[in-house]
Each structure stands twice: as C-alpha cells, then as structure tokens.
C-alpha cells in the first residue's frame, strides 16, 4: 500500500493541516509535513477533509435485483460520493434475514473493496412482519449485524415491534423503523395534501408516519431500547422525536437529502423520478426537517439510495417503483442546503454524515476523529466545485436521480478507505 501525504486540507474545525497516511492509518497531522521519498503527495488546498462518510440507509439490491444495482456498482457510487461505509438494507431477494445472506452481502462488499459494507438484518422473516428473524445469528455472523430493519415495509404489528426492540438489547443492536402505518397508506402514491387533491393521486398522509413514530418511541421508552427512525419526512414526526428526546428516550432519526431538498410540488410533473417512499412532503415539512437537522433533533443524514432500472420509472406514475438514488449527490446537497446557509458547520457535517451514523450502527473503525493513530477513512471535498448531474455519468447502475440537470455545490475529490484511495481527482480508482 502506498503512503499518502495530504497537504493543506481544512479540518472540520477549520485548521489547515497536512496529513500523513501510512498502513491504513493516519500517522501524523501537523501544520507542515515534508514528504519522504516514495510518498504520494496530494495537494488539498481549498479542500475540506472529513471523516469518511457513513450511510446508514443504502439499497444495494444484490442479491436479486442486479439489474438495478450490484454491491460493486453501489459501492463505487458510495465511494464517488465520499462514503467509506454503507449499511445495505435487507429487502433483497432473498431477504437478508439469515446469517448466510448477510455474510454473502458482507463478502461481496469486501471483494468489491470500495467501501465497508455493513449488512442490515431483517427484523422479521421474509420482511413479512410476522415472526422475528434470527437476529442473534446475524449479529454473531462475520457480518456482525447491529442494525435491524424491515425497511421498505413497516414493522406494523406492535407486539412484533416490542419483541424486536427488547431482543436487540442483548446484542447491542438497534431497530431502524420504516414508519408507515400500512392501512392508512394502501395504494398511496404521494403526500396527501393540496397537491394530491389537485393531481388526483392517492394520498400518503403524514399521520401514517407520525402515528408509528409516536407508538415506537413509547415502546422504546417502555422497554428501554434503542430505536432509530428512518427517513423522517414530516414536521409532526420531528415534534414527536423532539419530545421523546426531551424525555430521555433512546431514539435517533435520519433525514434523506431528497426530503431536505424537494417538495410534493414535483408530483405535478407526473414524472415518476419523484415517486419515493416516504413521499416528498410540503414546503413546511421541508423547513421542519432542515431545522431539526440543524438543532440536532434529527441526528443524521442517510441517503435511502434506492436504484431502479429504467423500465421501472419510464411509465405512468402509479405503475412506477418508489425510490431515488442519492449516494453520489448527498454531500453536495447537504453542503448547499445546510452549510452555505449557515445552518451547519463542517464539524456538524462530519457528525451527521459520519460520526453519528457510525455510533448508531456500532461501526467502530469509522466516524473517528481526524488524528494521528486513527484509521485513515477520509473524504476530501471541494466546496467551490460546480457540476451538473448527468444520470448517464454516474457510478450507480441506475439513472433515477431526482437532481438530473441540477447544478450541485461541491464535489468529492478523493476518498480514502483504510488508507487506500478509492477516489482520486474525482474519479473512482480502478
């Protein structure tokens, strides 16, 4: 492995430093380091260095939907977006509900080598919402699963949710809930409100999310467990989580870049690229999730990267699949919406995109301080870069980005995974 000297990068705290990477670790951080022979020098003037980003919510689609994404293409997309670890959601075919499947995904991640792939285990067998999957076996497997989720579906049965919350206490796990009351969202197509009334698409009411969030924080309080709320999308959910945290309930929450950026007005185009679950909400909801991310009520940004093949989006709205890609565009969107507006500083960005997701997922070698002796998982970001999103030019195998044609603010220039560059000069290595 080559050694790298990163020169003149701005740390999240604002200091400009040189960083020497050796043997997978950061070995020196100083105002000025002189390269020894054989060390590759990377000029990082004007770049911000962040701990490698960690996504708690990624759909890599493999096994089963390799037409949408593979562990390899999804890992490359993650690296290109500045990520060094992703949590691969369990709604694959077969479902990641056994030690065998999570180990398979974990190995595919190792073989690809672009990011650390941490499989998420299903809460229930087959995501059917009826019977607990073998959570302890998945936790004890080589994949060391700590995050459990039926994402794509809600653990709607309150008894099953209670059991899952209790059971993961024994393995230091967390239940990540996709909060969607199923009866209130049958055949739902988009956020229920002014726009759905107008365009005649069946509504997905905010209360269908909020009622589950409210129930789950109360269950988490009752049994003293850790709960993570996936993709918070409504102002009401934010209020409930704020209240729960105030009571000392152990709840964490995530928001996606698209729920920070876009509203249900996009549905007026009937372009299914904007069809996502939970749906894009009202402008008031968008304002609420931004404010909640700024004040810490929402702990992290997670992408919910959900690739779909072209044919699943090239159709009428009702026939289209839910979901949008996000790994390669998340950091520029957070930069534009949260940093340029002064709502977050770079230390906060490091927290919401690396430190906190690592802590929630119990990933020990990620989200670490940028100091000597720490693992060299790093992202170099150029905040001044401007680029226009071309779906065909992305690393993900799917083109369903909601920001096609949009000029983004900033770009990942380099990513280091355990000291090895996965991205250099803005290009994925290898």
């Amino acid at each position: 492995m080559k050694n790298y000297l990163i020169k003149g990068a701005q740390l999240p705290g604002g200091q400009v430093r040189d960083l020497l990477l050796e043997g997978g670790a950061i070995v020196q951080v100083a105002a000025k380091l002189t390269p020894e022979a054989g060390v590759k020098v990377l000029d990082a003037g004007g770049l911000v260095v962040l701990p490698g980003l960690v996504d708690l919510h990624t759909h890599l689609r493999e096994p089963g939907r390799e037409d949408a994404e593979t562990v390899r293409t999804g890992s490359r997309a993650a690296a290109a977006g500045g990520f060094t670890a992703v949590h691969a959601m369990a709604n694959t075919f077969p479902v990641a509900d056994t030690a065998g499947v999570v180990e398979q995904v974990w190995r595919l991640g190792k073989d690809a080598g672009y990011v650390d792939v941490h499989p998420v285990g299903a809460v229930s067998v087959g995501l059917a919402g009826e019977k607990l999957a073998e959570l302890a076996a998945m936790a004890a497997s080589a994949a060391r699963v700590r995050v459990f989720s039926d994402d794509g579906k809600c653990v709607a049965d309150p008894v099953l949710m209670r059991r899952a919350l209790e059971y993961v206490k024994g393995i230091d796990g967390v239940v990540a809930q996709h909060a969607q009351e199923p009866r209130l969202t049958e055949n739902a197509q988009m956020h229920e409100g002014v726009v759905s009334a107008d365009v005649g698409l069946a509504g997905w009411p905010a209360v269908a999310e909020e009622s589950i969030v409210a129930r789950d924080v109360l269950l988490a309080e009752h049994v003293g467990s850790r709960l993570h709320v996936c993709h918070v999308s409504t102002a009401g959910s934010v209020e409930i989580i704020r209240w729960a945290k105030g009571r000392g309930i152990r709840v964490t929450a995530e928001v996606t870049p698209h729920h920070l950026l876009l509203t249900d007005e996009t549905a007026r185009t009937y372009n299914p690229v904007y069809k996502v679950n939970p749906p894009l909400r009202s402008a008031a909801d968008v304002a609420a999730v931004r404010a909640a991310l700024a004040d810490g009520t929402i702990d992290i940004v997670a992408t919910d990267h959900a690739p779909h093949p072209r044919e699943d989006k090239d159709c009428e709205w009702a026939a289209a699949a839910f979901g949008m890609t996000g790994l390669e565009t998340a950091l520029p969107i957070v930069h534009e919406l949260m940093v340029e507006t002064g709502l977050l500083g770079w230390e906060d960005v490091a927290r919401v995109l690396s430190v906190a997701p690592s802590a929630i997922g119990r990933v020990e070698d990620q989200g670490r301080p940028i100091e000597a002796g720490e693992p060299a998982n790093l992202t170099l970001f150029d905040p001044s870069a401007r680029w226009t999103v071309e779906p065909g030019d992305m690393e993900t195998a799917s083109g369903n980005t909601p920001v096609a044609g949009r000029e983004l603010h900033g770009r990942t220039v380099a990513t280091f995974l355990h000291g090895k560059p996965t991205v250099l000069d803005g290009k994925v290595v290898g």
């Binding site: 009334a197 044919e311 009428e316 709205w317 009702a318």
Partner: protein
C-alpha cells in the same frame, strides 16, 4: 392548442372558443349530411385502458363526423402490473402515424405522461385519467349549462353568475375536479357537497365552497345547475374503503329524490355525467323529469369532442368548422 390534458390548462378565451365551436359543430349535426371533411386522412386512436363504452362511442362518433379514420384500441389487463407497458403501446401507435390519441386510463396523469414523454408527436386528448381530470366532460357540461342558463344566444359567453352544486364522490371524481376548474374559469360559482369521507384532504384550497349537508346547500345556494355524481356501491364496503355506512344512508343524506327536486328553484337544471345508479344518487323521477338535461349532455358530448379534435389536430385557434 396541441393537447387537451386538463381543464385547468384552459384559459377563459380558449374555453369559450371550444364551446362556440361546439355550437357550430352541433348546428352541422342538424343537417341531413352530418359528415364534415375537416379531418380527412388523419388518424385518431381511442386508447382506452379502462372500459367506458359511452365515452369511447362519443369520441368515435365525433372523429368520424369529421371524416377522420378511427382506431379503437383497448389494451388487455386492467392492472398496472400486467400487460404491455404504456410506453410500448404509445410507441406502437406512433409507428402507425397516429395524429391524435384519445386516452382513457385508470392511472392519474397517464395522458400527461404520454404527452410529455417524447414517445409520440400526436395530439393527446384526455378522456378521463384515474381520479384526476376529464376535461371534455366538463366542457360538455358547460355547453349544456350555457344553453339553458345564458339566454337565447350563448355564443361568446361564459357562465358568469351561474351557481353550480356538485354532489357526491368528489374524492374519486375526475368529473368534479375538471368541473371546478372549468366552471370557475368561465365565471360560475361552484359548491361541492359530500360527506367528508368523500372529499379530498386539500379541497379547502380549491376555488369553490364545500358543504357536508345537501339540504342546507340547496337552500342557501339555490343552484342554477345541480350535478349528481356517480357513487360506486363498492366504496361503502370495508374493502372498498368504507367511505359511507350504507346505500340507504347515502341516499337519505345525499341522493336527489322527489322532495329535494320539488324544493329546487324553477330554473334549476339537473345533470349527471353517467352512468347513473338509479335509486342511489338519483331517483328515476329526477333523472327522467322535466328538469333533467342528462340526455342532452350526451348529445352535446359529441359536439364538444368534435370541436376539441378539430382544434387540437389542426392547431387552429379559431375559424369556421
């Protein structure tokens, strides 16, 4: 006017133009030889993903009276997961040099998607999409109202000062949505009446009044036109959404029966977009009574669709038919 996708897209001028042209078309229909050579050599496809014999026949008649060649195509499979994709169906029609596609689809927005997808150059006319819009229905309704309520010469006029009450399943009704848009564009005042379960969340932002009580609304509004919407019986079952407790209760609260009919002002016309559930939202006495213009609505449908086909397919903004 290249497409007709939503009544919301029509300006007052465009709507009046269509209605005036529909009157001209209707006049030609009184002649012995009803066929006009206007669209000779052009192809109209009736692309119906959802059964509606009455709407299809109306469009077919309209196109044939304008001498267009008409192809009726009803793709198999009524669920979104089955059958050929919308894209492939439309690409196939494009290969046949179709000039206009009249689309009926169970998915809201499907005609919009076809018109904006780049899959076809044809004019797209929305013949009803999901729970979104049915613009030619609201145009024929407006034509019918204008004839009855706007004096002996309706040409050039809107629906200024007309009070319209629309009763029934607004939530699932594309007729109500296009009606609110078009009638208000033309200067009418619209009141929607339904149980709250059958009104969409967000209706409070629409350009109309809303009431849960039919008797109260009729007494207050004294409507010039009363439009009863079809209520699908399956909507009351738990599986269908449980929107109201029983057909009997619906009829009691929201049906047009003889006492309500008798209490209406003399000038009030009774409308229904069809097909009717006699005995549920409207009694036979009301449907067949002197105030009923329901049969006229059907005849006006052909004239309005002739006007829409002519204006979209020739790109004309006006002129003689």
């Amino acid at each position: 006017m290249k497409h007709l996708l939503s009544a919301k897209d029509l300006s007052r001028e465009q709507a009046v133009l269509i209605l005036d042209m529909a009157e001209q078309m209707a006049a030609t229909q009184a002649r012995q030889v009803k066929k006009l050579p206007t669209l000779r050599g052009l192809i109209v496809v009736n692309l119906f993903f959802e059964d509606s014999t009455r709407t299809r026949i109306s469009f077919e008649t309209a196109a044939k009276r304008l001498s267009a060649d008409v192809i009726n195509f009803s793709p198999k499979g009524s669920s979104v997961s089955k059958g050929e994709s919308l894209k492939d169906t439309v690409l196939t029609l494009g290969a046949m040099h179709t000039d206009a596609i009249v689309v009926r689809h169970y998915a809201s927005g499907a005609p919009y998607t076809i018109a904006h997808s780049g899959w076809t150059d044809a004019s797209v006319i929305n013949a009803g999409d999901g729970t979104h819009q049915h613009p030619t229905q609201s145009l024929l309704d407006a034509m019918t109202m204008r004839r009855h309520l706007m004096g002996p010469n309706p040409l050039g006029q809107g629906l200024d000062g007309v009070n319209v009450v629309i009763v029934g399943d607004v939530l699932h009704s594309r007729v109500a949505r296009s009606g609110v848009d078009l009638f208000t564009t033309l200067g009418a005042k619209v009141t929607l009446v339904a149980p709250a379960t059958l009104l969409p969340v967000g209706v409070e932002t629409w350009n109309c009044d809303v009431s849960y009580n039919l008797d109260q609304a009729l007494a207050e509004v004294k409507p010039d036109a009363l439009m009863m919407l079809r209520v699908q019986k399956e909507r009351m079952s738990a599986g269908g959404g449980g929107f109201f407790p029983s057909p009997q209760e619906y009829t009691r609260e929201y049906g047009l029966d003889e006492p309500r009919l008798a209490a209406l002002p003399k000038r009030t016309i009774v409308m229904h977009p069809g097909p009717m559930n006699r005995g549920l939202e409207i009694t036979s006495g009301a449907a067949d009574g002197l105030r009923s213009v329901i049969v006229e609505q059907v005849a006006n449908g052909v004239a309005v669709r002739m006007a829409v086909l002519y204006l979209t397919m020739t790109g004309a903004e006006g002129g003689e038919a």
